[in-house]
């Protein structure tokens, strides 16, 4: 029965993604949709790290930066096609996560937070300072994905907005599918267990250090791929992608949506991506309202949007 709930979640998401465009008044909505999905992908990774395994990271944008710049640098300097660059970025991110994860993940709570934050800052600092390579704070151009042209060759003419909407949605759906698989698997359960009590997890044979590292690496790959997709879509990338604010934004999305739930992650990224777009009507009050909305969501739905609402509905049903 749990199994079917996974497919229900996925199906609901897929249907939503497929049906929404019917209501899009203009091409701009594809862009917003694509952003939501890309963010949703990154945040799903964070749900695995924070929600399942209970480890915080304030530096995940660093991995997004690596993914993004892999797609900028590898085609420019190594002649790698962008599609392979995504893979390259993911591999580099995974390796790096493994390397720094080992020592860092011994830390707990805020100490882990500051260590990951340091990592993120190091990445964004390198991207900012190594101007000769990265173009510095002004960023650098990214070669587009050939896939769209290929599709066009097959007679499937998509606008850039449509193309990225579809591609990002697919990427997110795959990410969500994997995360849901994990949730129900032995590994995912062990992650949640170590979140509850590390000692107890160890005494039932769970290799806590290894498991934390796995969660860290998996979530790094998610962030990296999301970063790649973002850079390819924008055809331009700046160090902001790896910045502290981006890390904070990702964590905020996860918590707003409900950090224990994958669909919550998607909801969270939808909210935080849409809010600034909606809030433009408030002009200079935008920041004010954005802060207020964040506070209110957390007050009224303290476990995040989706889990809290689910709990309320369930309660009513009884």
């Amino acid at each position: 029965m749990k199994l079917s709930s996974k497919w229900m979640q996925l199906a609901a998401l897929a249907v939503l993604v497929a049906v929404l465009p019917l209501f899009f008044p203009s091409g701009y909505y594809y862009r917003v949709g694509a952003l939501i999905f890309v963010n949703g992908l990154a945040v799903t990774g964070l749900v695995i790290l924070i929600g399942y395994a209970g480890q915080i990271s304030l530096g995940h944008a660093g991995f997004a930066g690596i993914g993004g710049y892999a797609c900028a640098l590898a085609p420019a300097h190594l002649g790698l096609p962008p599609s392979l660059s995504i893979l390259l970025g993911a591999v580099i991110s995974a390796l790096l996560a493994m390397l720094i994860g080992k020592p860092i993940l011994r830390l707990r709570g805020y100490y882990l937070a500051v260590a990951t934050l340091g990592f993120g800052i190091l990445v964004s600092m390198v991207l900012t300072n190594e101007r000769a390579l990265t173009g510095g704070p002004d960023g650098m151009a990214v070669q587009g994905l050939a896939l769209r042209k290929i599709l066009r060759g097959w007679g499937w003419k998509l606008t850039s907005g449509e193309f990225w909407y579809i591609l990002s949605a697919l990427a997110m759906l795959v990410g969500v599918w994997i995360a849901l698989n994990l949730f129900q698997s032995a590994t995912g359960r062990a992650m949640r267990a170590l979140h509850g009590s590390e000692v107890a997890a160890r005494t039932v044979g769970i290799d806590v250090a290894r498991l934390k590292l796995q969660a860290f690496v998996i979530s790094a790959v998610y962030a990296s791929v999301a970063g790649s997709l973002l850079a390819l879509q924008n055809q331009f990338v700046t160090p902001d992608i790896a910045g502290f604010m981006h890390s904070i934004e990702m964590v905020t999305m996860a918590v707003l949506g409900g950090v224990g739930s994958v669909l919550g992650a998607v909801t969270g990224s939808a909210i935080l991506t849409l809010l600034p777009q909606v809030l433009t009507v408030f002009a200079e009050y935008e920041q004010l309202v954005l802060g207020l909305v964040m506070i209110l969501v957390m007050i009224f739905l303290p476990r995040g949007l989706l889990p809290s609402i689910a709990a309320k509905l369930k309660g009513r049903g009884e």
Binding site: G27, Y28, R31, G136, P137, T280
Partner: protein, 357 residues
């Protein structure tokens, strides 16, 4: 129908320095134009977004402007990063776009739909170096911010320095939010042969550099960039510490002391008066960029009509437009249309600006 004009600016965030006066200027000017009856009888409908300096957001807003708001032209991109994000959207959608950012790569190579009003960072460097050359300075120490503005100027200055036979002996940086630059300045002071210090940057950095230099009692000429060309800088750095600082600025800053013969005088005085009356704060060079962009764009609309392609063509045909930043003449090969003469070398004396050309 109204003419829809789009703008995406960094009115908040780390580049609010640039974006805030720009946004205010555009809003003010559009109001003025509409009050005066609009353009060829049509009102301008301004759609202005705040991208917070985030290139990703800027791209989204640019998409929104062209796809959803269906604007006929875009002004914006307070920073190079945001500009580069908007630029490809404008190119794709074939909408004329005037950027307010400094980097040379915006208009070099020339892109059909992209123009810009500020001089390039490179021009600022050249202006500074030629002044140094006149004073016989050949060896300098540089200290720049690591933000986009500072880093871009640092690179450009290093690039053109040899042309003016200037050697950069020390090359230091500081973060945009740093509170104390005495270590970097001490290093520069202790570097043998340094004859002057150049500090490209904007925001609080240059003010602190200027104060720290006074604190350390370093007795070398200090050059700042156009990034601090506003009265606010003198206030922040303190008149005493800022005494003698030189920088390349625009006519706007010295509106009051421009000779009456200067063609820019009426433009800058009018803009300055209007802006300061409306917002109760002093004008800055950056607001001036926006002023020129709006003027250029609306002039093009007056002659070309409200069709994007026509606006673009009219823009490109602009000759001798007198703005606050300089006198613009665009051509298919040049989408900036300014030359070095647009910059004026200024020096701070007794807490005010003086022209030294």
């Amino acid at each position: 129908a109204d003419i829809k004009l789009g703008a995406s600016l960094s009115a908040s965030g780390p580049a609010a320095f640039l974006g805030d006066p720009e946004a205010k200027t555009i809003e003010m000017m559009v109001d003025q134009i509409n009050e005066a009856g609009g353009i060829n009888g049509e009102k301008i409908d301004l759609v202005l977004y705040d991208d917070g300096g985030d290139p990703n957001k800027a791209r989204t807003f640019a998409t929104r402007l062209v796809e959803d708001d269906e604007v006929v032209a875009i002004i914006g991109g307070s920073t190079t990063g945001t500009t580069m994000s908007i630029l490809s959207v404008a190119e794709d959608a074939e909408v004329p776009f005037i950027s307010l950012a400094g980097a040379i790569q915006i208009i070099d190579p020339v892109r059909r739909w992209v123009f810009k009003t500020p001089h390039t960072d490179r021009m600022a460097c050249e202006k500074i170096f030629s002044d140094m050359q006149q004073k016989g300075i050949t060896k300098i120490g540089m200290i720049s911010g690591t933000d986009g503005f500072g880093a871009s100027m640092q690179a450009q200055c290093k690039d053109v320095a040899p042309k003016y036979a200037i050697e950069i002996l020390a090359d230091e940086t500081y973060g945009p939010q740093d509170a104390d630059m005495t270590p970097q300045l001490t290093k520069i002071r202790n570097t043998d042969g340094v004859q002057a210090i150049l500090n490209p940057g904007f925001g609080q950095g240059p003010a602190i550099v200027t104060r720290n230099k006074a604190q350390l009692g370093i007795d070398l000429p200090l050059y700042e960039s156009h990034g601090v060309a506003s009265d606010g800088f003198i206030k922040l750095a303190g008149a005493a510490a800022a005494e003698g600082v030189r920088l390349p600025g625009t006519a706007l800053l010295v509106a009051a002391i421009l000779p009456d013969s200067d063609p820019q005088k009426p433009v800058v005085t009018a803009y300055k008066a209007a802006y300061e009356a409306k917002y109760g704060e002093t004008v800055s060079t950056f607001g001036g960029y926006a002023h020129d962009a709006v003027d250029l764009m609306t002039n093009a609309m007056k002659t070309g009509g409200s069709d994007p392609a026509a606006i673009r063509d009219a823009l490109e045909a602009t000759q001798g437009y007198v703005g606050t930043t300089g006198i613009y003449s665009f051509s298919p090969e040049d989408h900036l249309g300014l030359d070095l003469s647009a910059f004026k070398m200024l020096e701070i004396r007794d807490g005010g600006w003086t022209l030294i050309d």
